[in-house]
């Protein structure tokens, strides 16, 4: 089940599998690193060895999540006996070598490389979104660049592509490290970006150099998270949001997703994995937003709708023997994944749950139910969604997302942009006092919170579905369904339904089988399984477009790595464990909204109008 190695064939010999013995003959090599003798494992790259020995090697094209490219040459080191300097990221140690990591030759070469990159790097740092968080800038500082030795380009060579709602491409800042290419092709397997032309004319481009909005980009924003410079960044709506806040006629409502609170601290210098829920609420209120709500509330609503949909699909399939019912049911919370399936597997769209994502559900609830309760004209309400996600910007601009009669969600704001707005407002997030979310959507369950991590939707759905069917809580210790958790690409498990309630008698003895996948490369794998018929007998599939789930989303603080994502996930699970309500259906606000507003219950007529959507068969052909 574990995914196959996807690195290019030419690079596979570089990866030496761990042997059984770490000390036996042939398992280690003795080397000399900066004059210090040591034993290292055969096949480790010089870069890895240096990292273990706390020697900092500068890198640009190297990224933990991606395959080795070796094209930026920043990580050059001197290996005795070699005519030229060697790229340490692509040099596996297989023989006793003597390595110097900071000799005169190395330092000079690295400085020249930075200088050469800067000579074609248009723009100034202070007018760049990545100022102070730019790897090129850091290197220029590390290697003491105080003048442009090889000149500096003063005219832009490219036009900025801001056609996409999510990702802006500014190729003048590109240093051609190809991290975005490897992210798009290898990590996400979407295949939008590639290097075109040759030599000096090389640039990163889309198919036939079309605007990003016209190609098969799924807006996941993973390329943004891995870009070392400001060449890729998200489409920032913060100016318009400030304008709405300052307009006294507008009632500006912000909903915050579970993931930004677990990561926004990183933008303020805190280590990864510290949850900032209360402080973030204070900041948002002080900035002038009229209300701050928790998207977890509509995450709970999503669970109610999606869970009900799953049960009705199961009933149709088992009781009515309806062969047109599509099982397994796929989740639809991740807009990147939705666009991915629309492009690459349009004929399988019926498998997707019709439930909207929590963001869009909140938009339509705010502009209908909330507007009515508070007596505000929905046309004066501006809904902003704080999301860890670049694709949410695209999602809220989908033309069909107007079931409230207005644009359901006006702006999608990423964690990074929120951090920028907080800084603009002169607030220092970690020092703020904690406050709660506003009523009437202040309460959310822990089940909604864990939506942020891969497997979270599945875990939340199981807690509710199992209890709806059997009347008992899920048979897992402390409600923690550990099989859903963790960073494995594709996770599968099952729960047996026994002693069901009368109305769900048809499910008696059914083994509820489910799959959790994150990252669209894994999603592709699951889809291939579906096409081959290997998913017969499965009932529910959770897919998140970004590696690690929403906490690794394209709008989250930069940098990202597996360790950072794990720490953010840990913060979410820790916060969840201490929540009073941990099941979506027990959230008092959910009960309230079904009593007061969505009176025909989950999956009812009004729910279908406001909380469900339809999808577009886009296909992957670009015209």
């Amino acid at each position: 089940m574990e995914k196959e190695l996807r690195s290019p064939v030419s690079q596979r010999p570089l990866i030496v599998k761990d042997g059984k013995s770490k000390t036996g003959i042939g398992a280690t090599v003795s080397i000399e690193l900066n004059g210090e003798k040591m034993q290292v494992q055969l096949g480790k790259t010089i870069l890895e060895i240096c990292k273990e020995n706390k020697i900092h090697i500068p890198t640009l094209c190297y990224h933990e999540d991606l395959c080795i490219a070796g094209n930026c040459r920043m990580c050059l080191v001197e290996v005795e006996g070699m005519r030229t300097l060697q790229a340490s990221c692509a040099f596996p140690v297989t023989s006793p070598v003597k390595i110097k990591t900071f000799s005169d030759k190395v330092r000079k070469a690295r400085k020249h490389i930075v200088d050469l990159m800067l000579s074609e790097h248009y723009g100034e740092c202070y007018s760049c979104v990545r100022n102070n968080n730019c790897e090129l800038q850091t290197l220029a500082k590390e290697y003491g660049v105080d003048s442009y030795e090889f000149g500096h380009i003063c005219e832009p060579r490219f036009e900025i592509d801001s056609s996409s709602h999510a990702v802006v491409r500014d190729m003048d800042k590109c240093i051609l490290c190809r991290r975005c290419v490897r992210t798009c092709i290898d990590l996400q397997e979407v295949g939008v970006l590639e290097a075109i032309n040759r030599g000096y004319d090389t640039k990163i481009s889309t198919f036939m150099d079309k605007p990003l909005a016209d190609v098969i980009c799924i807006n996941c924003g993973q390329c943004i998270n891995r870009c070392p410079t400001g060449a890729l960044h998200a489409n920032d709506p913060s100016d318009e949001i400030w304008k709405a806040i300052e307009d006294p006629k507008k009632h500006v409502v912000l909903q915050t997703a579970p993931s930004p609170r677990a990561a926004i601290g990183e933008e303020f210098g805190l280590p990864a994995g510290i949850s900032m829920t209360g402080q973030l609420n204070t900041a948002i209120k002080r900035m002038g937003f009229d209300r701050v709500f928790d998207t977890n509330f509509t995450a709970d609503l999503t669970i109610m709708e999606e869970g009900t949909e799953l049960l009705s699909r199961l009933r149709k399939a088992i009781v009515d023997k309806d062969s047109s019912v599509m099982l397994p049911q796929f989740t639809s919370c991740s807009p990147g994944w939705v666009k991915f399936i629309e492009h690459f597997y349009p004929e399988y769209l019926d498998y997707l749950s019709t439930a909207k994502s929590p963001q869009q559900m909140f938009g339509s609830v705010i502009k209908t139910f909330y507007a009515k309760e508070e007596g505000i004209d929905p046309k004066d309400i501006v809904t902003v969604a704080l999301m860890p996600c670049a694709a949410k910007k695209f999602e809220c601009n989908r033309p069909e997302m107007d079931s409230s009669g207005f644009k359901d969600v006006d702006y999608g704001l990423t964690t990074r942009e929120m951090a920028k707005m907080i800084r603009e407002a002169g607030l220092r997030l970690p020092e703020l006092p904690k406050t709660n979310f506003d009523e009437p959507f202040g309460d959310a369950s822990g089940a909604g919170l864990i939506f942020g991590a891969t497997g979270g939707v599945m875990e939340a759905a199981l807690r509710t579905v199992y209890e709806l069917v059997t009347g008992r809580p899920v048979p897992f210790k402390n409600l923690n369904i550990d099989v859903c958790r963790g960073m494995k690409g594709i996770k599968e498990a099952s729960v047996k339904l026994e002693n069901c309630k009368e109305e769900f008698g048809f499910l008696e003895g059914v083994e509820l089988k489910f799959i959790v996948a994150h990252g669209t490369a894994n999603a592709k794998h699951v889809m291939e399984m579906l096409i081959k018929g290997e998913l017969a007998g499965y009932h529910f599939v959770e897919i998140m477009a970004c590696p690690g789930g929403c906490i690794g989303g394209g709008g989250q603080p930069i940098p990202t790595s597996e360790l950072i994502r794990k720490l953010r996930v840990k913060a979410i699970y820790e916060e969840e464990a201490s929540m009073p309500v941990r099941k979506s259906h027990e959230n008092p606000r959910i009960k309230y909204i079904y009593e007061k507003f969505l009176t025909d219950g989950p999956g009812g007529k009004l729910s279908h109008k406001l909380l469900h959507t339809k999808y577009l068969k886009r296909g992957k052909y670009i015209n």
Binding site: I185, F207, M208
Partner: protein, 157 residues
């Protein structure tokens, strides 16, 4: 491009893939054959090749843009390439270039209105000992002069 044109290309690409296989290494020969038959590799064909070889269209586009002799824009049925290397230059390639340009009524990197010829410069053909040389489609012509190149052009269809 209408559907019937697309179908012609699809069928042709299908036969090529049967001939060269579905490995990534089949990409270049497939593209060369398409180019030979249709003179350039259009967007639709690029995507069809990508589909059959199970790679991304942008990768096909990247390969085409990398090689100077593969094109993704429409061009003439014949290509005449004049060497712009210094040796050929010394032996009069500039004059030949001028003569070709005047005869065809087009500049370099342009195509005649009837779609017969595209005129281009190319870097060294490795024929410096027999310079000046020009390349007409796949055929190299050595020690050419103004008269001989004009005769060559007239014979083109």
């Amino acid at each position: 491009m209408n559907d019937s044109e697309k179908n012609i290309r699809n069928e042709f690409i299908q036969t090529l893939v049967q001939r060269f296989g579905k490995e990534r290494t089949a990409l270049l020969p497939v593209l060369q054959e398409i180019q030979k038959k249709f003179f350039y590799i259009d967007e639709h064909s690029q995507q069809e090749v990508a589909r059959l070889l199970n790679i991304h269209p942008v990768e096909v586009n990247s390969v085409i843009s990398f090689y100077a002799f593969l094109y993704d824009k429409p061009r003439g049925r014949n290509t005449v390439r004049v060497c712009k290397n210094i040796i050929c230059n010394y032996h009069g390639s500039l004059e030949i270039a001028k003569a070709l340009s005047t005869e065809l009524g087009i500049g370099f990197n342009e195509t005649t209105k009837d779609g017969k010829v595209t005129l281009e410069y190319a870097n060294c053909f490795g024929m410096c000992d027999k310079s000046p040389s020009i390349l007409v489609n796949d055929q190299i012509h050595e020690r050419v002069n103004k008269e001989s190149v004009l005769n060559l052009i007239r014979d083109l269809k």
